[in-house]
C-alpha cells in the first residue's frame, strides 16, 4: 500500500503538471488567501508592537496625577481647570508612600524659543530633576540639570531633537549655546535622545526642559507659588502600580481635606491604563484585518472547491475507465484526495512565501515612513494550512466518491440507453 500511495502521489503530481493552467488557477485562490492572512496578521502584530514600543517611551511603571475639576459657585471647571496639585504634594507623596521609587512634577507652556536669527514655538516644560529619570529621558550629548540648578533657579535648558533641528544648523553643537526663552537667556546643557511619537501620536521630541523653579519664577509666572501642572511618580514593579495609585489617592484626599462625599479634585492615570487603551485599538485592527484575510482564505478555499468540482465532473469518464480496469473505490478516493492536497499544499507554501515577502515589503515601506516595524510571526504561518486542506480536499473527495459509488456501467455506458416512455397525453376534450 505505501508503494501505491507513493505511485499515486507521483501520478497526482504528473496529472497536475499536465493541467498546469487549471492547477495554477486553482492554486491562486489559496496563494492569495494564505498570503493575505499572513501579511495581515504580521501587519497587525507589527502595529501592536509599535504601540507597545511607543507606550514604553513614557518610561517604566509611570503614574501621572493630573489636576481635576473644581466647582465654584455651581460652575464646574473641566479637567485641569483646578490648580490643586502642588510641589509639597509631590514631596509628601515621596515621604509617605514607600512603594514609590521617585516623584517628580512639572508644568508646561508653549513659548517662543530663539537662537540667533531662528525661532520656534515649542513646549517648554519646567520640571524637577527626578522627572527626567521617571520618564526615562537620556541624552545624546551633555547631561541633566541638578538639584543645585533647581535650588538656584538656574537658566539652563535641555533640548529635544525637534527643537535642535529647528533652531540649529546641521553640525552646529547646541550644548554650550545660549538660546532665549521669553527673552531670558538660557544655556543649553544637554540634548535629549529622540523618543519619536508618543502613544497618542504627538511628537515627544518637540520639547524643552528647564528647572521647575526657573520656569515658575522667571518664565511662566504663577498665581500660586508651588502649583504644578502634573505630578509624576514611578514604582519599582508593575504589580505595585495599583496599590500605589490607591495610596496616592488616599494621601492626596487627606492633604486636600476632601470629605468622604466629595469627588477627587485630581485624577490618576498609569502607563498600564494608557497602554491598554492603545493596545485595545490595535487589537481591534488586528482582529479586523485577520477577519478580512480569513474571509479571503475561505473564498480561496471555495474557489478550489469549485474548480475541483468541475474537474471531477469533467473527469467522470476517466473515473469510469479507471474503475473498469480494476480501480477500487478507495483508489479513486485516494487519487483525488491526494490531488486536492497537493494543490492546497503547494498553494499554501506559495502563499506563505508571498505572505512573508509581503510583510517584509510592508516593513520596509512602513519603516521608512513612520518607524513601525512589522513582525512576521510564526504561529499564523502554520495556522492556515491544516484548515486549508480540509475543506476543498474533502469536497473533492466527496464528489469523487459519489461518482465512484455509482455503478461503473453508468459512467462509461456506451450507447445512451434508449428508453421508450409511453407518451402521457391529456385526454382530448373535443366537445370543448
Amino acid at each position: 500500500m505505501p508503494a501505491f500511495i507513493l505511485l499515486t502521489v507521483w501520478t497526482a503530481v504528473r496529472i497536475l503538471g499536465r493541467n498546469r493552467l487549471r492547477a495554477g488557477l486553482t492554486m491562486l485562490g489559496i496563494v492569495i488567501g494564505v498570503g493575505a492572512v499572513i501579511a495581515m496578521v504580521s501587519i497587525g502584530e507589527g502595529a501592536k508592537a509599535a504601540v507597545a514600543q511607543r507606550v514604553a517611551t513614557m518610561g517604566t511603571n509611570v503614574i501621572m496625577v493630573l489636576p481635576g475639576s473644581m466647582t465654584s459657585s455651581g460652575v464646574r471647571g473641566g479637567h485641569g481647570g483646578a490648580v490643586t496639585l502642588t510641589v509639597s504634594d509631590g514631596i509628601d507623596l515621596t515621604k509617605r508612600i514607600p512603594l514609590l521609587r521617585d516623584t517628580g512634577w512639572g508644568k508646561r507652556d508653549v513659548m517662543q524659543i530663539v537662537n540667533g536669527n531662528k525661532n520656534w514655538n515649542g513646549t517648554v516644560n519646567g520640571v524637577s530633576p527626578s522627572y527626567l529619570t521617571i520618564r526615562d529621558w537620556s541624552f545624546t550629548s551633555g547631561g541633566p540639570f541638578t538639584q543645585q540648578d533647581m535650588d538656584t533657579a538656574a537658566c539652563v535648558a535641555l533640548l529635544g531633537q525637534t527643537i535642535v533641528e529647528n533652531l540649529f544648523d546641521t553640525g552646529e553643537e547646541p550644548v554650550g549655546a545660549v538660546i532665549r526663552i521669553k527673552n531670558m537667556p538660557f544655556r543649553v546643557i544637554g540634548v535629549l535622545a529622540p523618543k519619536g511619537q508618543s502613544a497618542q501620536g504627538s511628537d515627544q521630541d518637540d520639547i524643552i526642559f528647564i528647572p521647575f523653579t526657573t520656569a515658575e519664577r522667571k518664565v511662566f509666572g504663577t498665581q500660586f507659588l508651588g502649583s504644578v501642572g502634573a505630578l509624576f511618580a514611578s514604582t519599582e514593579r508593575t504589580d505595585d502600580l495599583a496599590p500605589a495609585v490607591e495610596q496616592i489617592r488616599e494621601v492626596l484626599r487627606q492633604r486636600h481635606r476632601l470629605q468622604p462625599d466629595q469627588d477627587d479634585d485630581f485624577f490618576i492615570r498609569t502607563q498600564v491604563d494608557i497602554g491598554k487603551v492603545q493596545e485595545g485599538t490595535s487589537e481591534t485592527m488586528t482582529v479586523m484585518l485577520f477577519t478580512i484575510a480569513s474571509i479571503s482564505l475561505l473564498v480561496g478555499g471555495i474557489g478550489i472547491m469549485n474548480i475541483l468540482l468541475v474537474s471531477v465532473t469533467e473527469r467522470t469518464r476517466e473515473i469510469g475507465v479507471r474503475m473498469a480496469v480494476g480501480a477500487k473505490r478507495g483508489h479513486i478516493m485516494v487519487q483525488f484526495l491526494i490531488e486536492a492536497m497537493t494543490i492546497s499544499l503547494v498553494g499554501g507554501c506559495l502563499g506563505i512565501v508571498f505572505g512573508v515577502l509581503g510583510a517584509r515589503v510592508m516593513t520596509v515601506i512602513e519603516h521608512r515612513g513612520r518607524g513601525v516595524r512589522l513582525f512576521p510571526r510564526r504561529r499564523p504561518v502554520l495556522r492556515p494550512l491544516p484548515g486549508q486542506q480540509s475543506l476543498p480536499a474533502q469536497s473533492h473527495r466527496c464528489i469523487a466518491v459519489r461518482i465512484a459509488n455509482k455503478r461503473p456501467s453508468r459512467i462509461i455506458i456506451q450507447e445512451p440507453c434508449t428508453i421508450h416512455v409511453p407518451p402521457i397525453l391529456p385526454p382530448l376534450n373535443i366537445e370543448g
Partner: protein, 237 residues
Amino acid sequence: MLIECQDLWKIYRLGDVEVQALRGLTLSIEQGEFVAIMGASGSGKSTLMNIIGCLDQPTRGRYSLNGVDVAGLRSDQLAEIRNRQIGFVFQSFNLIPRTSALENAQLPLFYRGVSLREQRAMATSALSRVGLQGREGHYPTQLSGGQQQRVAIARALVAGPSLLLADEPTGNLDTESSREIMAILDALNKEQGMTIILVTHETDIAAYAGREVVIKDGRVQSDRQTRPVARLSPSGA
C-alpha cells in the same frame, strides 16, 4: 464453461417507469470462443456486456464467471475480478487524456500494485504486441483513431485476462483501421485462445467471430455457430 448466464433480468427504474433491459436471458460461453453479440439499439446487448464485464449486477438470475457466482460480490471484489480476468475495449477508446500510451497501458497493473519497473516492462511488451513499439511516449492526441484503439487493446491485454470484452471496437474507425483492429482480435483468439466477446452492428465485423448471438428485447433471439471453437492446447490444434 467460462461464462454462464441463467435467466438474467435487469430492470432499471426511472421514476415511476420500469425498464426491463434483460428479460430472462440465458447464455453460456466457453473458454476460447469468439462471440459476436448483435442486436438493435435498446435490445439489451450493452446491458448484457456490462453484466458480463462485472460493471453492473443483474436484478435477478445467476451469472457465474469461471465458476464464481458474481451476483453476490461486493464492489471491491468486482473491481478485483475486472482487474485480473477481464479486459475492456470501448467504442470511444477511453484513453486517459494527456497521458502517454505507455502509462495508459500500465493502468491495470497500477491498480494491481505491480512495481513501476515491471509495469513499464509489461506495458511495453503489450504495446509491441499490438504493433505500437516506438510509440510508448505518444499522447492520445498524437495518435490516430486506429492507434488509440490499439493502445486500448494493449491496456486490456496487459494484465493477462482470460476474457476480452469489445463494445463496438470499430464503431469510430474507418474500414482500414477496423480491419487492423479485427485482425489483432482475431489473432488473440486464434493464437492465444483468448475468449472474446464482441458487440457490433455490422455483419462484416461479426463475421470475424465464430459464433453469432442475436439479442432482441432482452432475450437471445438466435444463437448459431459459424465456425468451430479454436482449441489451443499444448499439443496444438
